[in-house]
């Protein structure tokens, strides 16, 4: 089934550790995104990529980095996790970079202790 695959589904991580959340899409979408969902705040954009080889900062980029080496993969890395990064992380993609609905993965629930 075409879509977005995120891994892991959930993770408990000690503060200070490094963690990479994986995201792969098979829809050949040009743009990809990482959001975090926190209670009462909705979804907030962390980083995005309009096309392979380019990335940009979203609303809450601090403490996170991304890369887009090819069309399908868009990993999100926490270099040194902190408890405030406890959240549910959603990867998404869209066909175009303008006026195009997002297709979301099922999320990664991350707890930083």
């Amino acid at each position: 089934i075409a879509g977005i695959t995120q891994a892991p589904t959930s993770q408990i991580l000690a503060a200070g550790r490094r963690m990479t959340l994986r995201c792969t899409q098979d829809m050949r979408h040009n743009a990809m995104y990482w959001y975090r969902q926190d209670l009462g705040l909705g979804l907030r954009l962390i980083h995005y990529s309009n096309t392979a080889g380019t990335t940009g900062k979203g609303e809450v980029p601090d403490g996170y980095s991304v890369s887009r080496a090819n069309t399908d993969d868009f990993p999100l890395t926490l270099a040194s996790a902190v408890p405030s990064q406890t959240s549910v992380y959603f990867c998404a993609s869209s066909l175009d970079r303008i006026n195009s609905p997002l297709h979301f993965g099922n999320g990664t629930r991350l707890t930083v202790t």
Partner: protein, 112 residues
């Protein structure tokens, strides 16, 4: 600074009746608006969208209304069904990018 606001965290309606979910925004540059539905343990799913050149868009039981002067949009579900029970997010983006801003969500419960 939340540019998209959903002021009702929850809404409960009877099966067969109309559900009306509301959303307000502050950024006058927003020109593309969407509604997403989210079930537990799943990612949000796109439901319906509207561009700023329109004031209404309909898809089956779902209709989105846009009032640009009031910076307000709403989602109407008629008739509501128990399977519509989910969290609904409104979102908006502006100009030449797809940097979507989301509201905090409204949990809709449709009672049989």
């Amino acid at each position: 600074d939340q540019q998209v606001k959903q002021n009702s965290p929850s809404l409960s309606v009877q099966e067969g009746r109309i559900s009306i979910l509301n959303c307000d925004y502050t950024n006058s540059m927003f020109d593309y608006f969407l509604w997403y539905k989210k079930y537990p343990a799943e990612g949000p799913t796109f439901l319906i969208s509207i561009s700023s050149i329109k004031d209404k868009n309909e898809d089956g039981r779902f209709t989105v209304f846009l009032n640009k002067s009031a910076k307000h949009l709403s989602l109407h579900i008629v008739p509501s069904q128990p399977g519509d029970s989910a969290v609904y997010f409104c979102a908006a983006s502006a100009g030449d990018n797809n940097d979507m801003r989301f509201g905090a969500g409204t949990r809709l419960t449709v009672k049989p």
